[in-house]
């Protein structure tokens, strides 16, 4: 009967829809970060930067999650990725295209992924990479304050992590939960941001504390507004030195969304 056929189609469609709602629900697990203004400790000449409310994944993306993505999008598998989008170290630590191998934990953050791959992963979840300002804004928080940068202990903790080897092998959630309900912003891996290439440092930044005026247009865009925050300086220097196709063993990512798009 035509009618029963239609019913079947309807049921199938409803099933798909419910899948969509389920996916939506998963997005609601994201942490809500209330926006505000902040002065990036190492940014454009002490200018206040406004950050809108946004949602952020509580954890970095794991190997298991990325494996699922690769299964569904085979052009991003280890042997399939175009060289334009990732260098030869892409998923270097995985055993093969669809297998992590024994030494790689499913729950550890995925690393050795290029910016292109990270960006695409987030797009496929209906999300995006966080902007540099969003990431830095969320990362100012410690366990109980939204901006802990004035606390000496906070900076020391971050810096001591920078000296700890191989934290990228730990599982996600193994560091502290911050004020916004976000884990692992410090202490696990470095993370890609959408506009990581908005950091302007000269090719040889040891040469001069000033920006290379020949290489950049506009004002010397980076000047430390707070020398105390050596940690932030390290992050900005790192971002300024990487390229979008680089796959690095301690560089992972997490996704974000606009708050109003929910």
């Amino acid at each position: 009967m035509l009618n029963s056929k239609l019913n079947l189609v309807l049921l199938t469609a409803i099933w798909f829809l419910s899948q969509q709602f389920f996916a939506q629900e998963q997005k609601e697990d994201m942490a809500y970060v209330k926006g505000g203004s902040y002065i990036p400790l190492y940014g454009a000449d002490s200018v206040w930067v406004k950050v809108d409310d946004f949602l952020l994944d509580p954890y970095p993306v794991t190997n298991a999650e990325f494996l699922k993505f690769v299964h569904e999008n085979s052009e991003w598998k280890k042997s399939g990725i175009k060289k334009l989008f990732a260098d030869e170290r892409y998923l270097y630590n995985w055993k093969s295209d669809y297998s992590l191998g024994e030494n790689v934990s499913e729950k550890a953050p995925v690393t050795n992924v290029s910016w292109f791959a990270a960006k695409r992963f987030c797009e496929c979840q209906g999300k995006r990479l966080p902007t540099l300002d969003e990431w830095e804004y969320a990362a100012m928080a410690d366990e109980d304050t939204p901006d802990a940068r004035v606390k000496e202990s906070y900076n020391q903790k971050i810096l001591s992590w920078y000296e700890t080897p191989k934290t990228f092998e730990n599982n996600v959630g193994s560091t502290f939960k911050n004020y916004w309900g976000v884990y692992d912003l410090h202490g696990l891996v470095w993370e890609w941001t959408l506009d990581f290439n908005a950091v302007l440092l000269s090719g040889e930044s040891r040469n001069d504390s000033d920006t290379d005026r020949n290489l950049f247009c506009g004002s010397g865009s980076v000047g430390a507004t707070d020398l105390m925050n050596y940690a932030a300086l390290m992050r900005y220097a790192f971002r300024g030195s990487i390229k979008a196709r680089y796959s690095i063993k301690n560089l992972g990512f997490r996704c974000a969304r606009d708050a109003q798009s929910l």
Partner: protein
Amino acid sequence: MKKIIYFSLLTLFLVSSCKQSANKEIEEIAQERSEGISEMSVYNLPATWTNQDNEDIQLKDLEGDVLVMVMIYTSCKAACPRLVADMRNIEEKLPDEVKDDVKMIFVSIDPETDTPERLKAFAKENFMDQDPWIFLRSSEENTREFAAVLAVNYKQITPLDFSHSNIISVFNRQGELVFQQEGLGVNSDNTIRNIKETVSER
């Protein structure tokens, strides 16, 4: 009535996320299009750009020519006029037989301000509203991605001002990046030599 519901549900299903079959088809078409394109080619980027004549193009449409590209914004007062001068200087020094195979391209890092009309006016002001000059703009996201490919860094400082790397890039006929000149008002001899060599490669 049921048909309407069915249809709208199906539409919903079709427009949903990456992994589902509808998108697979689009991917396959894209893959087909990209067949024969080298892995390192910028023609792998699916972005659509608009030129100063308000025509939509993909970078792939420029395949076959050697491309000389720089990222600027038209309201820039500091380095950009010098970058424009550098580009003009490079073009002037190219031999005629080489010129035919070269496109000189400006890509806006300020797509919001740099509308096609604005690009057109800028092209006219600079006597560049003809071959081989092309002015392009796209979405903010596509621009960020293209900059990532070129390793050009930029940041909006104020609503009107950007800070950006001054890099002129040369792409071969397959769309692969073959040379970059960094800095302002630097000697362009090396760049010109690279363009000539790239054109002579068939």
